[in-house]
Every structure is written in C-alpha cells, then in structure tokens.
Amino acid sequence: MSPRLRTILRVIHRWVGFPFGVFLFILCFTGSLACFGPEVQNWMQPEAALRPSSPPMSQTGLIEASHQLKAQLDKGLFAFLKLPSQRDPVFRLWHYDGHIFRGPTLAADTGLPLLTSDVVGGSFFTTLHSSLYLPTPWGQCLTALAGLTLMIALISGLWLQLRRFLPDLLLFRPHAARHRQWLDLHLLGGTLSIPILFIVGGSGLVLQSQKLLHFINPPSHAARPANRHQAHSQTSPPISDALITKLAQNAQQQWGDEGDGFFMLAGKELALYAPDTLHFCLYRQAITASRPRLPPHNLCPTLHSVFLGVHNLRWAGFVTRCLYGLTGLLGCLIIGSGMRLFLQSEQNHLCHHHAITYSQHIQQRLYRAVSMATIFGLPLATLALFWSTRLPAPLPPILWEEGLFFTLWGVSLLYALISRHAARHLLMMLMLLGLGTSGLDLATRPFHTGRPALFLSIDALAACLGGACLLALLYHPHYAKKRAILRSKR
C-alpha cells in the first residue's frame, strides 16, 4: 500500500469513526440491552416475576385479561394483549405511547392487575437503539447514517490492517506502552469480530433504510385490513369469551404454544398474532374468527423478514442471545478503544505545536467530554434508570425515569466539559451504582421470587461493571501516583 493511500485511509477511518463512533457506541450498548427486553422489564417490575415461568397461563386468566382488553378498547385506547411466555410470565395490556410500550400487568393465572408501577421497561432501550429517542424520521436518519459510517470505518480499517490481518490476529501486548495496548485491543476485537459487525451492522442499515424509504414513499396496502390508526377511530369489535377461547385453541393447534403471541385489532375484528419467536424470518401472521387458519406462505416471504431475523434474533435460544449481547458489548469495547486512540493521537499532534491556541484547547476538551459522556455517561445513566425504577418517584414514574436518564447523561457531558477530573468522578459513580445494584435489588423486592436467576444475572452484570470501574480506578494514573508516593515514604 502506498503511503499516500495509507494516509487517506487513516484520515477516513479516524474522522468517520470518531464523530459517528459516539452514535455507534450508543447503538451497540442499547442493542445489547434490547436483546434482553423482557428480562429488563421483569427486573424493573419485580412484582411481575414473583412466580415461576410455568405454567404460563390459565383459561380463567385469559378470559379475565380479554375483558380488561375490551375495557381498554372501549375507552378508545389502541391496546393489545401480550400473552405470557417463559421469558415474561404475565399478561401485558400494552399500548404504544410514541416511544415505549406501557400499560397494566395482569397475573397469568387470574388475569387480574398486579400491583406494579409503570416503568419504561425493556422497550426503552429498543426505541433508543432504533431511533435514538428522536422524532421520526430524524432518529432513523441518524441511525442509518451511523450504520453507513460503520461500514466505511470497517472497510477502511480492514484495508489498513489487511497486510497484518492474519499474522497479528491474536496479538495483544499488555506490557507495551499504553497507546500500543489500546491499539492492540482495538485491532484484536475489530479483526476478530469484523464478519459479525458486517452482518449485524449491514442488516441494521438495510432495515433502517427500508424504514426511511417507507416514510418517503409509503407502501399502499389496498387488499389488507385497515391499519391500527383507522381501527382506533372505530368502535371496538365484540370480544366474547367463546371467541377468545376458540382463537387460543386454534393457535395452540397451529403453532404449538400460543405464549408470547398477542391479541390485537386487525381492521374490524380481533386477531391473535403469532409470536415473533416462531420462525427465523420475522413476519406478522394472525388468525381471526373469519380466518381461523394461517394462510400457507414461504418461510421467508420477503427480504425484509430475513434481515429482521438476522438483526433481531428473536427466534434464537437463550445462549445465542447472550452471546449476541456480549458481541454488542465487544462492539462497545472496539469503539471505546478507538475513541481513546483518537484522543491520544490528537493530543500527540498538539504536543508537536509550539503554542496551542485557545480554539485548539477547546476543541481538545470537547472531544474529551464527548468521549467521556459516551463511554461513562451512558452506562451511568442506564444504571441510574435501573435504580429509579426501584426507588420512589417524585414525578409520574415514566416521566421521572426518562427525565433522570437524559438529564444525568447531559450532566455527565457538561461535567466532562468543565472538570479535568470528570473521568475519575464518573468512574467512581459508576462503580458505586454498579456495586450497589445487588443491595438495592434485595432491599426493594420480596426475597423469595420465582425467577431468582433473572435477578441474579442482572445484579451480577451490574456488579461486573462496578468491579471493572474499581479496577480502572485502581490503575488510574492519579491513584497510581499517590500509591507510589506512599510507597516511597515507607
């Protein structure tokens, strides 16, 4: 490779990677959490996870829950009833509020409302992942652009590393200089996970682009039933106990287990939609009173459904989803190390100047603050969100939780802008919140629960994050220096 081409590729990789790395970090982090949406929802509402996952639901519960659905529809609220499943063993009478799914939680055996507070739940991270909580189409535009820049960064990075791709595949030198350590870590993660990043990032990019295309040029569905907004204005259809029972029985015959499916209005009649976990390709199919059997169709009817299957992985087993989540966190590590390298090289570049201008100084501080707010501020705001769902809320719960999340994230950016010790302080707060999550969990939920593994695994994850921050603090230059002074005094 000629030096000129190498320089061009380096410039592209750095200047595309850093600004959009911020968004990519958010997408990777929230994507990892979105893999475990029902589990996060249950952690935030511990009353919903007091009983074990099986048996999922009773006939009485289903009938009672359908009465609750009818009451919601009569009020003019476009609600749907999500059936209990292994991952989420309660009825959810949800409606979409423009950002998240919310609504009462009903017991699987009785169908009566459980005393749970309304929380943002797992769908908060899904929305943050798909649209960054921005209004349509700006969120989708930004996410699609981030996906595109991921492809550019991956291709330029791969090209730069092509000659040493195989020989240095597992190279990591922990005893080398700090810059070299971070570069090795960036390359180690980046080269090994490049096929996965291409597949996941590429499928996400295609899905977002399709959404944008549909927004620009809405598809016409003349032959299909009226959409939910049209249905919203109509009076609710008759929902009899016999209809509910018949649909549930039909579902059981056709797709085995009706768990995780949902009852929703489709035009003028009530339909029972098949669960997303049914096939690899995500395709909405429903049975109604007038159409009791699913029409035969291909396993993957559209290209869109294939990409949904690849990107969402809702069909996958628990272990695969765990590894998918871990791969997302690996993506965070790659992007975070890349940001660290960018900051270091910018600082080195400034060191060669005799005098640093005020604008250069401000620029440097801005880069640093944005990196801090992304790498430390986002996990901190996430942990604070988890805490806020378990502590008394001074405002309406969802407003309070969302407000706290975004305020804390914003404050971490401001603090990183004004303070030179922001990294250390943010790490400290992350450590405290992470290590304290288990205590908070035990103090704010009944000790005996039907799903101890769920609470234990989320607490353990938070504790791991806290532990990692503790280690980072111990090796932080500030404390290392203090330790050296103490050692020399002794």
């Binding site: 597992l170 996970s193 069909w315």
Partner: protein, 92 residues
C-alpha cells in the same frame, strides 16, 4: 448450551494451533506455545469447518449463530489471557 461447551474449547484449540503456525519472524507475539507440526496446521485450517458442521448438526440454525458469535469472543479472551500466562509455560 452443549453446543457452546463444545465450541468454546474447539475455538481455543484452533486459536492455539494458529498461533503455533506463525513463522519465526512474526514471533513478537508473547502468546506463543510449543512449535507447530503439520498436524496442528491441518487442524487449524480444517477446525472451523468441522466446528461449523458440528454446530449445525447439534443446534441447527441456532448453532450457526453460536459458531459465529463464539469465535470472536473466544479469540478476544485467548488474546488477552495468553500474555498473562506464566513465562515458563511458553517456549521461545
């Protein structure tokens, strides 16, 4: 779970065989173990394909994704953990 328990050591073995096959002038890597043999070389070339077939056979489509996700995670773990191994376990 069983598929993952098979895949992880398999990827670890493939990684070690790969490291051993590196030529001497590339041996700046602190992760080197005993010298390579032709048998090891064929193992690390054929290993991923065997792992792919095995995981598909054991867990179907889920297995393919497990194969894909476990490779980078095991590789990163190996890359980070091996340099911390005691020096006496590594032959120059």
């Amino acid at each position: 779970m069983i598929t993952l328990l098979i895949l992880l050591p398999l990827w670890g073995f493939i990684g070690l065989c790969y490291l051993n096959s590196l030529p001497p002038h590339r041996r700046q890597n602190p992760c080197h173990l005993p010298r390579s043999t032709p048998w090891q070389r064929s193992c690390y070339i054929a290993g991923p394909f065997i792992a792919l077939a095995l995981s598909y056979r054991l867990a179907g489509l889920d297995g393919l994704f497990l194969w894909g996700f476990s490779a980078p995670l095991m590789g990163v773990f190996l890359g980070i953990a091996l340099p911390y191994l005691p020096q006496k376990l590594m032959r120059k």
